[in-house]
């Protein structure tokens, strides 16, 4: 079975220790986490984990069931890239002298859809939000000019289909 990028979305209660409980499930199966982000979700008091991994669908299916089995996990899903709208943000710190000498800044910003966050006499900080390939291509572009620092966020993503977490929680309150 072919390995693909999968985005796992996990809706959870907000509890200390849940991150390590979930991480342990990946660790046990030697699955490398490409990125992880945790934030609040559309539902009040409910957190959402977005974890990106490269795996076979068979293994992902099993992992998601193990995740869902954790007491404080409300629901877990997995999706392929095609089923998600996803973005990453990257920051690039570049030496001002190199940058100004070699670049037409206006054209550069237009072409890449990047944004200048800060300018100082010593460095520029450029921000780019987009797919991995886009932040990656900007990285390649800037690398020859001596990137002073580079950092990229984890993937954040929303699904094309509806998630119905509120319904799920509503059900608990009325049927239990």
């Amino acid at each position: 079975m072919e390995k693909k990028d999968y985005t796992i979305s996990i809706y959870t209660e907000n509890n200390v220790g849940l991150l390590s409980r979930i991480a342990a499930i990946f660790l046990k199966r030697h699955i490398n986490i490409e990125s992880v982000t945790v934030s609040k979700s559309e539902v009040e008091g409910v957190m959402r984990f977005i974890i990106v991994v490269q795996e076979t669908e068979e293994k992902i299916g099993k992992v998601v069931k193990q995740i869902e089995k954790q007491i404080e996990v409300i629901k877990a899903f997995y999706h392929t890239d095609q089923e998600m709208i996803y973005q990453e943000t990257a920051l690039y710190k570049v030496r001002s002298s190199d940058f100004v000498d070699d670049f037409n800044i206006q054209d550069f910003i237009k072409e890449t859809n990047a944004r200048i966050v800060t300018v100082t006499p010593n460095f520029f900080v450029i921000e780019k939000t987009g797919k991995r390939s886009e932040t990656e291509s900007l990285y390649e572009k800037l690398k020859p000019y001596g990137l002073m620092q580079f950092v990229r966020s984890g993937t954040i993503a929303v699904t094309k289909e509806e998630m119905r977490i509120s319904n799920l929680l509503e059900q608990f309150n009325t049927t239990n």
């Binding site: 959870t12 509890n15 869902e68 404080e72 608990f172 239990n176």
Partner: protein, 577 residues
Amino acid sequence: MEVKTANFEKLDTPATITVSGAEAVIKCLLEEGVETLYGYPGGAIMPIYDELYKYQNEIHHVLTRHEQGATHAAQGYARVTGKVGVAMATSGPGATNLVTGIADAQIDSTPLVCITGQVGSHLLGSDAFQETDIVGISTPVTKWNYQITNAAEIPEVMAKAFYIARSGRPGPVLIDITKDAQFAALEYNYKKCAGIRSYKPTPKVDPIQIEKAAEAINSAKKPMIVFGQGVILGVAEDLLKQVIEKSGVPAAWTILGLSALPTDHPLNVGMVGMHGNYGPNVLTNECDVLIAIGMRFDDRVTGNLDAYAKQAKVIHFEIDPAEIDKNVKADIPVLGNVNETLKLLLGHLKENKHDAWHNEFKKHYEIEYEKVIKNDLNAERGMIGMAEVIDEINTCSKGDAVVVSDVGQHQMAACRYTKFNQTRSNVTSGGLGTMGFALPAALGAKMGMPNREVVAVIGDGGYQMTIQELGTIFQTKAKVKIVLLNNGFLGMVRQWQQLFFDKRYASTEMVNPDFVTIAKGYHIKTNQVTERGQLKDAVKEMMEADEPYFLEVKVEKEENVFPMVPTGASVSDILLE
């Protein structure tokens, strides 16, 4: 506490009383019906022990000789009673010593609540004396765990701990309580937990799956049932029996399913797996419908998955959705507590008989009898065999004893040869294979079922891993019968060395102490059997003794357990010799 429990719980608030965190813990235990718990005191849990002293007429604390013993005793107690076992320890080494028992309970789905003391919250993270991150350490081996630093959380967290431990697929829960939270005062009022919104312990039953399963069973020509501990945990033993009898389907068991169906039931065809019976292993690869009930297709059951029941339609009755398709793809998964699903199934089953197919099992049994069993029970050979000892226990118990076995060859002998009439009578460490399990587990089992005979069958290796619990048996006077099958070897490992490592017996021969003298040191009545002629009377005397009893039997040194499915082989390639 961020986890939401059911809304209605919060509607009425009865009057509260002010107590310390430590006293609240005891009150919670009493609310949950805990009469006995096992543990070991130490610095960070002293406030709770102080309360145990005050409440000693209401709750019985058993001082084990090692914290591992406390978890195994709590497991033994839980396995025979169906109640939640409770173990307690201090922080640091006390807590880490619990881990083996917790891992064992996790893999064998045993309901356990473990309470550990923790250093004061102001010291957390400072590498204080006896500080260990037990919540971090126990995370992968607990169903749930939680650290309490605020006394006010105690009642709700304790209620949740018991609810989680016992509901759905049971498992161990660890609650770590900082010392300051034990001292602090809180407004106490207790409400049992009735639900947690992010946790669905029992999946909804889909009636369509039941119908599909019934149809497959009704039209099967060569169906076979394999049942596991899910039947016992779901209290579905009677239903299982009815399903078997109505459908006429031969039924085999996993090691943890043992005793859910009486041994002498005509459709009981024995154990599956590595050292299971010949028939059910071979015929797994011949049946047309494989009906798995409350079992999880462990690798010791399935052997090589690529050659496991490939010809069969697989029906999987299971409470845990994560077990469906984990190892064996289920053609018809039936989610739910087997207590519920088997009841529904029964209504759809046709009365049936499969005599010719059942005969296949009998024929295979005859082959196994000729090649293996006859020899195992052969009273003509030199030294006493393990199976002979089990057989003598059967003669005395008439199948009504609880048999607690440790891990290794003697465990296989005990599971293959013990006769069981009653459920919850086979207590053994199945999934984790924890040597040292049996002695403390037998103590817990005896305290859980004081009116039943409890026999611990242990090898000389595992015995020495928790031998100090003789002290607990002596102190509590629990009338545990201990049978030590002494072959002077780590027998199972030696068998593998003989078969797969060219008889290089690396570190498996044991130079043993005088076990009788050791037991005598604990003032336990003892006996030793070295010759076959003494065996019958010795077992009889032990079984009739109205006190703890230690019987050492010197057995054949290099006996092998057969049949055997070698690792990586298919179950139908099971070896008889």
